[in-house]
Amino acid sequence: MITLLYLLAGALFIVGLRGLGSPRTARRGNQIAATGMLLAIVVTVYWVYDHSPNDEGLSALWWVILVGLAIGGAIGALLALRVQMTAMPELVAAFNGFGGGASALVAFAAIVETGTVVATDVAYATETEVTVALSIAIGVVTFSGSFVAYGKLQGIITGRPVALPGGPFFNLILVLLMTAASVWAIVWNEPLGYWVLAGIALVLGVTGVIPIGGADMPVVISLLNSLSGVAASMAGFVIGNQGLIIAGALVGAAGFILTVQMSEAMNRSLANVLFAGFGTEGAGPIDAGDRPVNSATPEDVAISLNYAQNVLVVPGYGLAVAQAQHAVRDLATALEERDINVEYAIHPVAGRMPGHMNVLLAEADVPYDVLLDLDHSNPKFANTDVVLVVGANDVVNPSARDDSTSPIYGMPILEVDLAATTVVIKRSLSPGFAGIDNPLFYMPSTMMLFSDAKGAIENVTEALLDL
């Protein structure tokens, strides 16, 4: 019966995940998945009650469960409700780190005292010990890796790739050491081996993520999310719980597919993202040299907007940082009142996560149907009078199309340079995450408005209303 209820929870997760894949059903999908989770928790608490050994242990047990759920729930709710929409990616990374850590702790709690499977009292068989080791290894890597990703996105840790001595081989050696520690723990029945394993896994999470550039963090977080699913599944083997195995495997596979799709949106393979140390070379500020740059004032921009018919806005990470989505919306409203057609061209990896820009613009009440994806935007640029690039850089870099020596050559870009006029709102000429120069900034048809995105847009709107 218990297993059937877990199966039902698993079915709700599947229906929920499928709902999340389509804009119209996404919110309900999430709610269905949450219902599945509630069911799984209730079933588990009942099962624990049903299997608890004696009465006097029971009240202490309830306290343990209640306190654990209350503390975790309060922290989770607080973080989720107070976070800025711009900080969403790093919050997902942090949540993911907690999940991975929990799976590793479950495995530890199971082996720490007796060497028997706590819930079933069956002495450990080798296969269960293997899942203990996997649960610890994957869970801990997810934990430390997620928090490094969090640090990189928050700017606590440098967003630039950090080269490791020996490159990928460094991590390969760590993996071999982890295998050795696992063999020590399992074959020689030495519990200390698990702790050594966890220690090395903690290091591997750091050294695995730190060589990867900040721009690739979404892919990394997605992969770590997939891993935390696998870790949960392994924890399910450890304590003999099918609900955990089902949901963990589901997320592991779904997260992996999502990871591959994200890499493809950047026209790169997953292996390339993880091991190439993208942007390690050519880091540092770019010297503009004596190339001419058209520096514009908000008034100049307002005038060219006023005589435009079609305007395309290209939002990027700078918009997210400056919280400029409402300001952009106000400018668009002012333009629409002048019968100027405004649409938005969204690069799949603009911002820090696929879909990041859509979330932000939706927050500012920008209608869904004026958000164009890459394939629908690019044919439009040639007929666009003014393109407004707000805090985007690498995703509009023509080098990706024109310069076969560029590290981002082949990445799909928004071809904003085809428009009659391109306005780039950016604080300076400094390079983006990829750490490379952008020839767009020096083109004759480009106007640079050096300012933070929010202030610049507000000034342009003001200037426009004064015309």
Binding site: L20, G72, G76, A102, S103, E127, A253, Q261, A362
Partner: protein, 98 residues
């Protein structure tokens, strides 16, 4: 290998295939909410945490179990709430004027 373990492997493999299939065609717009939602589901390890805390024998195991439960609950509650907040913004807007 015990029959339970083999059954677990069967369940694992089948669930993984379902996971691969269920995600095949998602518009990039929804990648962030989907990642966040899937992340909340991976908080299912809360089930393991409750069991581990409940059946812990000894102080260290209890502490580890409670810690696991706190971590997992943060993942579950925070994950679903934040996904809902993101998706709330996608709700059908009245079509643009003009």
């Amino acid at each position: 290998m015990s029959p339970e373990f083999i059954q677990g492997i069967v369940v694992f493999v089948l669930a993984a295939f379902v996971g691969f299939e269920v995600i095949s065609k998602v518009p990039p717009t929804l990648h962030t909410p989907l990642m966040s939602g899937a992340n909340a589901i991976s908080g299912i390890t809360i089930v393991g945490a409750i069991i581990a805390a409940a059946f812990a024998d000894g102080a260290v195991a209890i502490v580890l179990g409670i810690l696991a439960m706190v971590f997992a609950t943060i993942n579950v509650v925070g994950g679903f709430l934040v996904t809902d907040r993101m998706l709330e913004m996608f709700k059908k807007k009245p079509v643009a004027k003009r």
